[in-house]
Symmetry: C2
Subunit: 148 residues, 2 copies
């Protein structure tokens, strides 16, 4: 588990290499994401840090995404969700996605399975002249609160 100050260090470095500052607002966003135990919607971020204006949060999340600090999770839910990238947290993981309330939970899979999957996906990519960057695995279903 990486510490909050380490997260800030990495964020500072990533933003720096993209000629971007690590402003107070951006720091608040990163902190909110680092403290949350699941990916946050925009509203989740601004509720965690009510000082943040909505439009600035949208803009800064885009900047943080561009710099590789933040990852945008798009599901069928209306609101996108955000989390720190694996480059920042150092932990490769995947998601459980609730079709009812949109909740997203993090899970990890065995390394050997990740390896097998990576190989198969690369083979499929080559067959389609596709250049794979990373994979995404979601288990779609119902969370505890939404179960019948």
């Amino acid at each position: 588990m990486i510490s909050l100050s380490e997260v800030h260090d990495v964020a500072l470095r990533f933003l720096g290499s993209h000629d971007q500052r690590y402003t107070a607002n951006r720091r608040l966003i990163v902190q909110a994401l680092a403290m949350a135990d699941a990916p946050l919607t925009i509203d989740g971020v601004t509720e965690t840090e009510p000082m943040l204006a909505l439009s600035s949060t949208y803009r800064n999340l885009a900047v943080l995404e561009e710099a590789g600090v933040v990852h945008r999770i798009v599901t069928s839910d209306d609101h996108a969700r955000f989390e720190l990238t694996e480059d920042v947290t150092g932990a490769h993981h995947h998601h459980l996605v609730c079709t009812d309330c949109g909740l997203v939970l993090d899970v990890t899979l065995p390394d050997e399975l990740e390896d097998l999957l990576h190989q198969s996906l690369e083979a499929a990519a080559k067959e389609n002249s596709f250049a794979g960057a990373h994979h995404r695995i979601d288990l779609i279903g119902l969370c505890q609160s939404c179960k019948p």
Copy 2:
């Protein structure tokens, strides 16, 4: 490979069990999706079948999705894409997603890998009191046309 008339039969059955008719418009949509070699955007569907009005196509795709005939694919791209469900085509598969143009390609993975993955995901779901329905695997990257 399932035939077009079989697809229509299944669609008719699925819609029937949801008290929905299989109208001419819905038939055209299913046909467009069945003939396409990759998931289609709404615009892709109406361009394939120009008789279709936009608002009706949105409505009918929602009905077809509710009936389990059509599957909506949401990515970071602006436009959602649609394909026939695996219950209709009988072929379990996953996707290569281009981050640049939004293109989505179908790929299949080895059965043994699918089994392993299913087991690991079910274990992760149980740990989180999550009820998994199905999984989704995407390889995110760049398609042939968008490669540098």
